[in-house]
Symmetry: C2
Subunit: 376 residues, 2 copies
């Protein structure tokens, strides 16, 4: 099996420093042990990506003492060891790895669990550890990952520039649309995502006409026709960090109601980008976009939050959503992607990745934001 999009292992000192910060957070939050398996907290702390399979890989981090990576014996050769950061505990095919984890957990009373661990391992662990309470490890590791350092922002910027180049080709009419199916265009975008330097395609939504009213539409056999608005939302993972962009193009002059709605969307998206200054609560950024769309009478058609954090994960904290009072900090990276979706008719979304920087919002996607009209 492969781990495409994996981060190249960093120097052991980087992982050691991150592990120190985890231990400090565990102490302040009274967490006895952190358990990490699938998901990107594990590679963030060790450089190693667990395989998404039924054989358990789990990093057990006690508040004091060395961390242990419990790993299938046949996968142990995959690990780049990081002396002083963790020890390996390979398990044989006839051992029960959850029992090994339970022994390492011992008498812990407060256990933090990685978000994307398979629930089966927690179900199996519950009866083996008595009187414990469980919390999400995102409060320990996720909050560290949220604040990107310069190298991480550079990686996000490179990935963003790569999808900008693809969007530029789309807007120049050099990616054929009319007469092809959504699925064909999606595959084309996927190939370009790889050709532009990503190791992994995360998604390539192509939604034509009324299909674009479904924000997470699966591209299918629907043929794209002249006269339609086509929504393309695509991204991948490049050197461990994600890209994500949405642009719409109009295949011929759009009807005036679509043109007017796009102008509202464009204004809302730019207002939210401008609002994304350090210190502003995430929900205020959401409101900046939502207010403009609602004032124009499209409020009921903006059915999702304004954005999500991005980094090693395509979606991570901070979420740009009503109710999230967390103030933006220097190094937060997130999407700004309002949309307007009229069921049965059309849908549109406009998305950039933005970094909260000391000098103000720093958009990583700069390709044309206006609705590009292509000759057909």
């Amino acid at each position: 099996m492969q781990t495409p999009g994996a981060t190249a292992p960093l120097d052991t000192s980087v992982y050691a420093a991150r592990m120190d910060r985890v231990r400090a957070a565990m102490a302040s939050q009274h967490i006895d042990v952190v358990l990490l398996s699938l998901g990107l907290d594990l590679p963030y702390l060790t450089g190693y990506h667990a395989m998404p399979l039924e054989r358990l890989t789990m990093l057990v981090i006690p508040r004091a003492g060395m961390a242990t990576m419990v790993i299938p014996g046949l996968e142990a050769p995959r690990v780049t060891e990081q002396p002083g950061v963790f020890e390996l505990r390979p398990w044989a095919e006839t051992e029960n790895p959850v029992e090994i984890v339970a022994r390492l957990v011992g008498r812990s009373s407060r256990i933090a669990v990685g978000d994307q661990m398979w629930a089966r391992f927690l179900v199996e662990l519950l009866p083996l550890v008595s009187n414990a309470s469980y919390v999400r490890a995102v409060d320990v590791v996720g909050s560290m990952r949220m604040t990107k350092d310069a190298a991480e922002i550079a990686a996000l910027r490179a990935a963003g520039a790569a999808v900008d180049r693809i969007a530029s080709e789309l807007q120049a009419g050099r990616i054929p649309l009319v007469g092809r199916t959504e699925a064909e265009v999606s595959a084309d975008l996927g190939a370009r995502i790889v050709a532009e330097g990503h190791q992994m395609v995360n998604f390539a939504i192509v939604a034509a006409g009324e299909n674009a009213a479904s924000p997470h539409h699966t591209p299918g056999a629907r043929v794209i026709r002249a006269g339609e608005l086509v929504l393309c939302d695509f991204g991948g993972t490049m050197n461990g960090y994600c890209s994500d962009i949405t642009r719409c193009v109009s295949l011929g002059t759009p009807p005036s109601d679509v043109r007017d709605a796009y102008d509202v969307l464009h204004a809302a998206q730019q207002a939210a980008v401008r609002a994304a200054v350090v210190g502003t609560p995430c929900e205020e950024v959401d409101r900046a976009a939502r207010r403009i769309i609602a004032d124009a009478g499209f409020g009921e058609y903006f059915v999702h939050r304004t954005g999500h954090g991005i980094g090693m994960d395509a979606h991570e904290d901070p979420y740009i959503v009503e109710g999230n009072r967390r103030p933006l900090e220097v190094g937060h990276a997130f999407s700004i992607e309002p949309g307007i979706y009229v069921p049965g008719a059309w849908g549109m979304r406009l998305e950039d990745i933005v970094v909260a920087a000391a000098g103000g919002p720093d958009p990583l996607n700069v390709v044309e934001h206006d609705l590009v009209v292509l000759d057909v």
Copy 2:
């Protein structure tokens, strides 16, 4: 986002019948409610694949009464509704979906949880449901999925034939190896997996020389050279069902010790296939291969189980492993893939998918099993 490799929705009556069997299993196992999210139990019962994202999709199946699919509002348009099988409960961006699930779970005392659900949702659910115990849903739905019907076996056979065609090209020397990197050959195999009709590439391990001693090696920048043994283990998902095959080729005449070891491996693999008759415990099939490898002195180098079940999932029950006393039944499908791995030197594995049929073991992969020596 996409769900490549998804099963096409079946007739509602198929899902209704499967749901009836789930309810019967719940009654006999005293399970009050089943919770399914990520993983393939959900599409097996509803035709719908949850998106692997932070917004919760969860099917709540009470022992009596209608099942409810709790789903992000923006993803509700993706669902093909199956009246009488489940109801939709879309949630808005400012709602807490786990609280919705907790209300549906009510006062259940025994809750079965899908294996691949993200642990974060169980962590969030635990404090909302008091005095409940948790078990794996695999005992309810997995045991149904283990026994394939005729249509499922036909799908597995078609996927198997597709990777056989690729293996045949490999063995004919029509997939260039010498001078290319493992990663390049892996990408080539991936493209062929799609070209042969799969919608999704699950893995394409290419491991040359000493790298093949790591059973789950990640193909990398290592250039393949004349004189080496190259292990290729690849598969994908075609119309919802998986393929998985391993073949090794020798780039020039192999050293006699490698040749001899391969003959042992070949004999062991064929013995295990012959042992896979209905009624035989899974562990006996494992022993059939292991005995031959151990008797030849390679026991310590066969570091994994003999195989895994396969179907909608690339790895599922039944596992062909010591300790699994489950007798094979008609319709079980699984890999038979012993290997010999000498660290620092070489590795080899030989794998077919086999169906336990009334007439005896039915291998779905029939391409040459002997070590093919290519001119270089």
